[in-house]
Symmetry: C2
Subunit: 224 residues, 2 copies
């Protein structure tokens, strides 16, 4: 479902060229449950943003579900993102002036299921991450881990075929983190492709496959 061929991402800066990704070859099949691990700064979030159509590559090719997506317009990419991909950001990216519930309803506005259905689906997603009792809170009225869980709920509400989660448990205690991983695993059992970045070895061990990045290169690829 995801194919990277020689994918590179460079950032030209004054006096230096930062090579965040350097020629990544990677294939992820439909229905995989996979972790991306590696040191801070090794290129994991960069890889996730390219996979999620939130960023473009500098060199190479990216095929999503067999289609070369570098040729798509901005609107086409936004449309695919909205319908097919659930993205959980490392820094959550919740809208500050919207409640938890409104944040979770947001991805559904494009296709406009009715108000009642939107509310119902958003509350179910909040329930699944243990945040139903904080539905009316604004992000600044939530703890770090609560914001993270609202970001998880938002990514699930459109029932995407592909979930990309950038460190979904980084701000959670062990027990709450395990609940989130259990949730993602149960979605995987329904056939959804789940790719997550993690620094937690326990989360990595719960996955079927682990790849390791170092300095923008794919260092290791191990199946569980």
């Amino acid at each position: 479902v995801i194919r990277f061929a020689g994918v590179s991402r460079t950032y030209p800066m004054e006096g230096e060229l930062v090579e965040a990704l350097r020629g990544i070859d990677l294939e992820i099949e439909q229905g995989e449950l996979m972790a991306i691990m590696g040191p801070s700064g090794s290129g994991k979030s960069t890889m996730m943003h390219i996979a999620g159509l939130l960023d473009t590559l500098s060199r190479g090719r990216y095929e999503l579900e067999g289609e070369d997506v570098s040729s798509l317009s901005k609107n086409q990419r936004a449309d695919i993102r909205n319908r097919r991909i659930g993205f959980i950001f490392q820094s959550f990216n919740l809208l500050a002036r919207c409640s938890a519930l409104e944040n979770v309803e947001l991805p559904m506005l494009y296709h406009r299921p009715g108000v009642a259905e939107r509310r119902e689906r958003a509350m179910a997603a909040l329930e699944a991450v243990g945040m139903a009792d904080r539905a009316q809170h604004l992000p600044r009225q939530l703890s770090g881990g609560q914001q993270q869980r609202v970001a998880v709920a938002r990514a699930l509400v459109n029932r995407p075929a592909l979930i990309l989660a950038d460190e979904p448990t980084g701000n959670l205690d062990t027990r709450t983190g395990r609940e989130i991983i259990r949730l993602l695993s149960s979605l995987h059992q329904q056939g959804i492709t789940v790719v997550l970045v993690t620094h937690d070895p326990e989360v990595g061990r719960a996955m079927r496959r682990r790849i390791f990045l170092r300095d923008g290169l794919l260092e290791r690829d191990e199946a569980a």
Copy 2:
């Protein structure tokens, strides 16, 4: 150095009263190395913000270095914070338009050491967290863990007597996280009081004392 006596923090909201902290009694001696742990939403960040003079309590009393700080003006609290306390936020709170170096220099602007000394001290702090080669990057040009490390560096640069770190390794791989904890431990060995919030049991075990919160209450207090 820190004494909480019956400290409560409530947030009145429509139709409910959120009790983030409920009557906390706690004493932290000068020179302690301590972890605050507990589930997501249990009140850890709230406790840290009150301790760091970033938030006021709703009931009870807070004495910092023997002085009742609830009677201080806003300016007096800002002054104490700047000179005595180094605070590392759970969500970093870096200024988006300033480089890593400028962000780390920021706390020194109040007391105006010369430009050369500011630069030198800021670079040394960035060096200590492994971020000297990213000094000119803006926060959005840094990875999540790199931003976190810049936030750590910024908290150290005024050589505070008290360091309050809210989940300083949440976005770091195991190895980089250990480097940060080693850094904080070495500062502790110089006599600095270090209080950190963590979800990582390994980090908790590296501390001399661990307290556990649950639903705004102090559940357990164990010395290593």
